[in-house]
Amino acid sequence: MVLLNPERINRRGGLERPDPGTPKRPTVVALLLACAVLLVLDLTGPALTPARRLVGEVLGPLESGASTLARPVTSIPDRFHSQSALRRQVGRLEDDNAALRQQVATAGFDRNRLAEYDGLTAAAQNIGYAVVPARVVGYGASQSFSRTVTIDAGTSSGIAPDMTVVNSAGLVGRVLRVTRTTATVLLIADADSVVGGRVGSSMEVGFVHGTGNLGTGDLDLELLDQTEIPAEGDTVVTWGSSKGAPYVAGVPVGVVDSVYANVRDSTQHARITPMVDFTSLDVVGVAVPSGTKSDRAIIDADGRLK
């Protein structure tokens, strides 16, 4: 083997002194054996763990230092990462964001809906009527100037015209028309709506007129007795009609906000802040006579689902 000859004949036929850098056999064998030993050691057990740790302890700080120093340089390829890649990333993140946002949004929605169902159960107990739960599925357009909503329950759920619609806060309105699966509800905020109201503290009666304004939702209470002046903060409840149509008795309508006298027809009026927020109606209940047949669960007057 060339490697082992102390001298050799070169290509030009002359005797050549051995290259001082030529590997010697013992060195080669030792190095190869060392490699084999390393492989076997690492293959069979954790014998090299201390060595790895030692090298890591020494080189680790060097590596992190070099990485930090070189960051201005190593970040250059990132800048060349094409716009399309960035755009893809932005798109992906936007998708993620939208999904998460939707989760967050619907989490609040679901929680609120649960609270509304809870409140509805309480409302049913309060007014002493069974209620059919329903959801508001459509608001009447403002340019039609009537304040109506559509709910997703109709005759098949036992709903008929002139039934009282409540939610967990108080009186919402009454049923105008029904189809098999939906019903149109006239909100008490509608300018045409008149509800018989009673001021809770004095049992004074009057008529609650809607003002047609959903945003502030103010109602107007026209009192029959000119001498009784309701106090601010008094609660107004429905006085009710015979057989509970169109309004059952004792449903909270609103709170007296301010009182004023109309000079022209010399009547006492009170501005009523309604209990219900008409702009965010969702779960409502339609008060039905106990024992009504319905295709959905009815919350009975004792708060139980039937």
Binding site: P23, A36, E63
Partner: protein, 172 residues
């Protein structure tokens, strides 16, 4: 072997491994970085001959095997760079005596050594099933690292070789 030479070699190996593991990975192409340590071994072996090349290769490979991100079996890079040192040393041995290797020779050596080194590393992985990769992936890695090494060789090798020549002018 003189002290300064060993110190220079150790410094170069450390520098190469540190750069290779921490800086060059940002320039990786399909995750494959240039083999700086291999280039250093080639340069050392081209100047100082096969024996010192083999020892340098073994040392550099050992550091590569044990340096932090490494998780393969220790000894694989040591074996691969050991052979690289031997191959590069043979090139010097076969070159015309007393003459510095030409640029073409150096590049050819780098290509051969890169191929041999990566192949040995990859093949030991296949033999020892550490990690078991497909042949296609393997060939791709070898090819890309060959390209990388050829690209970086003109930047690294002249410096390394000049440093060793100045440190200890060859006696031939």
């Amino acid at each position: 072997m003189s002290g300064p030479r060993i110190a220079l070699t150790a410094g170069l190996i450390t520098l190469a491994v540190v750069l290779q593991t921490s800086v060059l990975d940002s320039f990786a192409w399909r995750g494959i970085v240039p083999d700086l340590a291999l280039l250093v071994v080639v340069g050392v072996a081209l100047v100082r001959g096969g024996e010192f090349g083999m020892v340098t290769g073994f040392a550099a490979g050992l550091v590569l095997d044990l340096a932090p991100p490494a998780d393969h079996l220790a000894g694989r890079w040591a074996l691969a760079l050991l052979v690289v040192g031997y191959v590069a040393g043979r090139v010097r041995q076969d070159a015309r005596p007393g003459a510095a290797p030409t640029a073409t020779t150096v590049m050819a050596t780098v290509a051969a050594c890169s191929f041999v080194g990566s192949s040995i590393f990859a093949l030991t992985g296949v033999v020892l099933r550490d990690p078991a990769v497909g042949i296609g992936e393997l060939l791709q890695a070898i090819a890309i690292s060959l390209v990388w090494d050829l690209l970086l060789a003109p930047l690294v090798l002249p410096g390394v070789m000049a440093a060793f020549r100045r440190l200890e002018p060859t006696t031939r």
